[in-house]
């Protein structure tokens, strides 16, 4: 068991660190959940892409550097340690791109990925519906066959980034006569500005339009924007949910940096006699290290060709609860100041509150852990 970095990894780290030191904005960008901040974060993606730092793990032909998982983890450590901005292109990069690598055509990859890498096209996800949340397979938005493509109708909701994004991807019911709910679904990409699309931004708890409802009325999607075979949408979507729940979405680097920030806050603001709070700060440090090492093991297993399966549900529960506990500890260190909506930890706290809800609620994840990892019987939810 080895925790040392190779010379290649160390050189890559040094290169990333140097570039970030010279380029990360000194004044933090405005929240990416606002029109102004969204534009600023899009411009940051372009700056990253120009130096080929926006999607380091992708092949070079699409704007990446073709680095392995180990170096991607190194990049993430440096990125978050440098205090760099949040990633507005994340939904596309972490969810759609892996789907295209596994199930898309060469033509689709060449058409979609380069503009995703530069932030020129920002992607939103369109999974949930008003009546299909945890029970996603019960979704009813339709894709109806038409000349040269499909017509999408129905309603999607909780679509992250959709208030300001350009395009979206999601799963639609293309065969209402299929014998099981998760059969007869098709995975499609569509334009959020196409005729028939209405986007209604939704304010999250702090009022910022972090997500949106999408109303679709016979929105035309050409055949070239279907991913994989029609009817195979569920299988294709599920094959990359591990990315959303697991280490690709929340790299350890983010939490190592957050824990460092928390320790600094504790040293500045903490009452040394308050051992209860001290213990929670220690737990934040311990949790970040645990997540880093857990991920190092998972990455090493993936590198041997092992599939990422239900283990990603362990990741998801861990990081979402960890992130929330860390922010609560920070707010407690701030005392009465913690209430201020513009405080240094306030937006992170609001964001962390959603962690146990999205990407499959933690209740669904615990069911998956219990049934698939522990072998407990299926039961009524």
């Amino acid at each position: 068991m080895d925790l040392s970095y190779t010379r290649t990894e160390e050189a890559f780290r040094a290169e990333a660190r140097e570039w970030l030191r010279d380029h990360v904005p000194v004044v933090p960008l405005v929240s990416l959940e606002t029109a102004e901040g969204f534009a600023a974060h899009r411009a940051w993606e372009a700056e990253l892409a120009a130096a080929r730092w926006s999607v380091v793990s992708w092949p070079e032909e699409y704007g990446g550097r073709g680095v392995d998982l180990a170096r991607w983890l190194v990049f993430e450590e440096e990125y978050w340690a440098a205090g760099a901005p949040g990633r507005v292109s994340q939904n596309g990069v972490q969810l759609l791109a892996p789907t295209l690598f596994d199930h898309g055509t060469e033509e689709q990859r060449a058409r979609v990925l380069p503009s995703m890498a530069t932030g020129e096209t920002i992607w939103a996800q369109a999974w949930s519906e008003p009546e299909a949340g945890s029970d996603l397979a019960s979704l009813t938005s339709r894709a109806v066959r038409t000349d040269g493509g499909w017509l999408l109708s129905g309603q999607k909701t909780w679509s992250s980034r959709a208030a300001f994004a350009d395009r979206a991807f999601g799963v639609f019911r293309s065969d209402p006569a299929a014998d099981r709910p998760h059969r007869g679904l098709t995975y499609l990409m569509f334009d959020l500005r196409a005729p028939g699309v209405t986007v209604r931004p939704i304010g999250r708890l702090d009022g910022k339009p972090a997500f949106a409802e999408l109303f679709l009325d016979e929105v035309f999607v050409p055949d070239e924007d279907v991913i994989g075979e029609p009817g195979q949408g569920w299988r294709i979507a599920m094959s990359t949910t591990g990315n959303e729940r697991g280490l690709m979405l929340r790299s350890p680097g983010r939490f190592l940096a957050a824990a460092d920030r928390l320790v600094r806050l504790w040293r500045a603001e903490g009452d040394p006699a308050d051992s209860a709070l001290r213990d929670r700060v220690a737990d934040a440090v311990i949790g970040a290290r645990a997540y880093r090492l857990f991920t190092a093991g998972a990455a090493a297993r993936l590198a041997t060709g092992a599939p990422s399966g239900a283990e990603s549900s362990l990741n998801k529960v861990f990081w979402s609860e960890y992130d929330l506990a860390l922010h609560e500890t920070a707010l407690d260190l701030l005392g009465a100041e913690g209430e201020l909506a513009d405080g240094a930890w306030a937006e992170g706290y609001v964001f962390a509150l959603a962690g146990p809800l999205y990407a499959g609620t933690n209740e669904i994840q615990r069911d998956i852990i219990a049934e698939r990892l522990l072998g407990l019987p299926k039961g009524r939810r």
Partner: protein, 334 residues
Amino acid sequence: MSFLPTDEQRAFARSLDAMLCASDTPAAVRAWAGGDPGPGRALWGRLAEAGVWALAVPEAYDGVGPLPVELAHAFVELGRHAVPGPVVETVATAVLLGELARLGEPGPAKRLLPGLASGEWTATLAIAGPESERHPVPYALDADRADAVLVVRGEELWRAHGHGPVEVSADPARRLARPAPGGELLAEGTAVAVAAGHARRLATLATAAQSLGVGRALLDRTVAYARQRTQFGTPIGAFQAVKHRLADTLLALEFAGPLVFGAAVTSAEGDVAAAKVAAGEAGYAAARTALQIHGAVGYTEELDLSLWLRKARPLRDAWGDPAACRAAVLGACS
């Protein structure tokens, strides 16, 4: 970086598990607690044949170590099978004497290490805290059964002759006694304090690994029970409240494991302390889950589950309780 056990480490852990599975360790634990150390000593000999004790002993003294990663693997298995006796204290003593020898004090190593490596002897160890503490010399585990009782007081290493009254722990397989004052002075000087630091870290790490194994055993037994126990016409493991509690128990163990092995790789003070907090708490949480899901039958001494249930809490607090370890984690933060 490849943070995975090697094939050899995996095979070693599997073979230990198989050997202990075939050894009826519950009977040995009950005998050890009940006054008959025979089966426990026999088990000790089999662990020696498997090479466990030699992992802590340098090659110059008939060992192969110190190998902290292999020791961590071994101690997960010792915890999984609730092996009784001063297992942690013996390897910590071996590390202490090996380190002393490396620092130019080979006398005690020559006398004691070959016997520890071969499993012929057992040792226990107490490392005294500041004189200002109410009990500066802590209990030494199984001092009445160990062949050598060692005590570190500041920069002095003593071999105690005898011990105070034996007190039974909340885990009856743990027998506690304070070493008698005085005895034979084996070594003195700064090397003793340095070597004791190594020994303490190794003891903390081994206890964390043992906690992890105890937690895994408790989880495995409880999952098996939840699949088989039926109420309201269905296995209780199909109920979400039961499932989620078991899922959380697995989660805590799965995230503690990498901390234990990571600490074995670095041997750094803060890493070892972090591993101890996480593994100790995960092991104890597994005990609470196991008790709750077994219900009243889990609250009985008769069920073998009790052998692990009663071990989890003492291990959580031995060789660094959670508060001390959390303070050490922050103390080591740059």
